[in-house]
Amino acid sequence: MGQQVYQHTFANGLVLLAERMDHVRSAAFNFLVPAGCAFDPAGHGGAASVLAGLITRGAGARGSRELSLALDNLGVDSDESVGAVNMRFWGSTLARNVPAALDIYADILLRPHLPEEELEPVVALAIQDIQSLEDAPQSKVMVELRKRYYPPPMNKDRRGTVAELEALTIGAVRAVHASRFRPNGTILSVAGNVEWEPLKEQVGRLFGDWKPGATDDATPQPHVPQSAHIHKDTSQTQIALAYPSVTITDPDFYHARAAVSVLSGGMSSRLFTEVREKRGLCYSVYATHESLKTQGSVLAYAGTRAERAQETLDVTLNELRRLKDGISDDELDRVKAGLKSSLIMQEESTSARAGAIATDWYYLNRVRSFDEIQAIIDGLTPAKILAHLERHPVKNVTLVTLGPKPLEVKE
């Protein structure tokens, strides 16, 4: 079956992507706006998050409740999230309701009321979001790792601090909207049972007059990653670590991705087998590849009782380091089977495809076809992955732990 992917760049720079999936009745849409928390002005941490909370509280001709009701009547499930670089607006509903939903999103993005009287409740929720992290140690340790591992401004936490949130003014939040919301750099992707020409015409009508703005990117500053232990009276010690890898745009990317899959793909992968299955050290252990435009990384996590935490870290690090010593054909075949299967099953999900085509465009300025990705997967060999690991060995590991006792990285 042929993929049906469409793309158009409007005169103001807005990129529209669509993938037609005619076997479903629904569609998902996804806006990436270059207004992530990396751009939060100094002293205004949390500004992008507060903007994301405020932006749906009235827009265009609708007040806060009317807007919520209008989306509910269309059966739209939606979510706003703030990443380092992009703010994401996701929505999903029946395909026939997508045009009406996009009308509403044009109001939300271009004509939000950002009412002053709603600032206090949104800030109150943002402060509770910080507090709730204390009750979620698995999430907290990853947040603390990213703060210390990534260079400024990519290491900013979207939550900001309580003091910053309490000092935030409506003017500062409106300024973020005025300066960061612009068509150039924004990507709208739609996947599902949609028609391309009417969609393109509608998006042109809704967003064609949106004025382009400055195009500064988030530029990483010089930085030395810092390891740390954060004391907390918990049952388990949370272990999180990171070290440098390649970006998605690098020719070596799929070698890096496959290497991580050998470590942490299915349940037969090395970390699960060695740390959990053979030693019973933990319930959860994984490694994952994470890419910004400016740097790629491998992140790993394990959570275990304090008295077994050092052994868990030692075994985990040993598996990461000894990967360069050899990968069997059978291991790589399993990795290929897993990658192929997720690639094909992704085609059953409108949300997954809307996300994937937007991500491709953001990093690569194009959408990769299944055939292209399949050919790359087929071309993987143990020797090529090992050569990648020679070029990018496990070194300069940043370790962040959360729990009763600190751990050490043994060389």
Partner: protein, 417 residues
């Protein structure tokens, strides 16, 4: 969508829905067993056994199980609830026979003692992990208080003590009793051929034992309206859980209960959202209808700053009292139906979603419901149905449990936990 069903002579039931446009096929073995079917001495055994099912058979070591699933790129896992234990895999269609071979094989596990000891460590880590997540611990404790001696209040995980004391012999006894063929439904959905599937299952499962299986206390339960306070000082937020009775899974009133729960406490645009979350009083305020075998419940869940807890409980109780007295509006019912329509359609697009949905309907009611039938059932809900549901299952008679650092809530002194 074409639906098929078949029962093997040993009582194993097979159901399937074919969808030739799908890219994958999903298969699940639904075992009608969970924590409600455990004796106190077996607490946690259903979930521990679920882990042990991946530890090997006569033909496969634990490592072989994982290797064989990964060789076919299967997306596989299992979960345990109070009343169901489910083993499932999403597969590319060309790997269906291999996938069925592994799933059917692991459903007859060896339960070797050394694997048992190793996996017990993993379970104890899992219990510790949830101990550090107050939202999870809170619900385990709250359900016990609400259900009192009813087995639906049994913890799925069990405790460190109960799991620590479990023996392989106890687990084997439980397995023989609960994993008989006539207590299992095999569900399949997506791109597959039904006659071929029946052959595959019959070849692997026809020899499974039949036993007297059943379940005690398939009775409706309503907890006592009361306030319980559980104090754990190191918790940051305060959690408040409110529970009352609802229609059982086989009742037609379940559709009205589902729609009402959405209007009262969906995570956006609901009564609780506008009363508690939109003004910033609470971090979250949700309401959901929970269907069980022979029983049902409505759970309301709040979280937020400890100082705001008493006010937030009062606000939520006021919302529930208003809905109990005056019901919801036609507009609210319409919005709830719009959300359900959209969610049912989207949830059904993947074979995994359909495989689970048809199995749930079949297990609870013995009926097959295709997507359009399910949508029509929701569409048919009237305000009179909502009234009838509220009259039968009042939502303002709540058992309330507060969990967090507060030592006293509304005059009730906390019990340290």
């Amino acid at each position: 969508m074409p639906f098929h069903s078949h029962t093997l002579p040993n009582g194993l039931q097979l159901i399937g829905e074919t969808s030739p446009a799908a890219r994958s096929v999903a298969v699940g073995f639904f075992v009608r067993t969970g924590s409600r079917d455990e004796t106190p001495a077996e607490s946690g055994v259903s979930h521990f056994l679920e882990h042990m099912m991946f530890k090997g058979t006569e033909r496969r070591s634990a490592e072989d199980v994982n290797l064989d699933f990964d060789r076919i790129g299967a997306n596989y896992n299992a979960y345990t609830s109070e009343e169901n234990t489910v083993y499932y895999a999403a597969l590319l269609p060309e790997y269906l026979s291999q996938g069925v071979d592994i799933l059917a094989d692991i459903l007859r596990p060896s339960l070797r003692a050394d694997d048992f000891d190793m996996e017990k460590k993993v379970i104890l880590e899992e219990i510790e992990m949830y101990e550090d997540q107050p939202g999870s611990v809170a619900w385990d404790r709250a359900r016990r208080l609400y259900y009192a001696n009813h087995p639906l209040g049994n913890s799925v995980l069990g405790t460190k003590e109960s799991v620590g004391a479990l023996t392989p012999e106890q687990m084997r006894g439980y397995f023989t009793r609960r994993y008989a063929a006539n207590n299992i439904v095999v569900s399949v959905a997506g791109n597959f051929d039904w006659p071929r599937f029946v052959e595959l299952i019959a070849a692997k499962c026809a020899h499974w034992n039949t036993d007297t299986v059943g379940r005690s206390q398939r009775t409706e339960w309503r907890g006592e309206p009361a306030l319980h306070v559980l104090t754990r000082e190191k918790v940051q937020q305060e959690y408040a859980m409110m529970m009352c009775g609802g229609p059982p899974a086989h009742s037609r009133l379940r559709y009205a209960a589902d729609a009402l729960a959405l209007a009262v406490g969906d995570d956006g645009g609901s009564r609780l959202y506008w009363a508690l979350v939109d003004p910033g009083h609470a971090d979250s305020a949700d309401c959901s209808y929970v269907e069980n075998d022979g029983n049902g419940a409505v759970y309301v869940s709040l979280s937020g700053e400890p100082e705001a807890t008493e006010d937030n409980i009062a606000r939520a109780q006021q919302v529930l009292a208003e809905v109990q007295a005056g019901g919801i509006t036609a507009e609210e019912l319409h919005q709830a139906k719009s959300k359900i329509l959209s969610r049912v359609v989207r949830g059904s697009e993947r074979p995994m979603g359909r495989m689970q949905a048809i199995a749930a309907a079949w297990t609870y009611t013995g009926e097959y419901r295709d997507v359009d039938t399910e949508l029509a059932n929701f569409e048919a809900v009237t305000l009179a149905d909502v009234r009838a549901y509220l009259d039968a299952y009042p939502i303002d008679k709540q058992t309330v449990v507060a969990f967090g650092k507060l030592k006293e809530v509304c005059g009730v002194t906390g019990t340290p936990v």
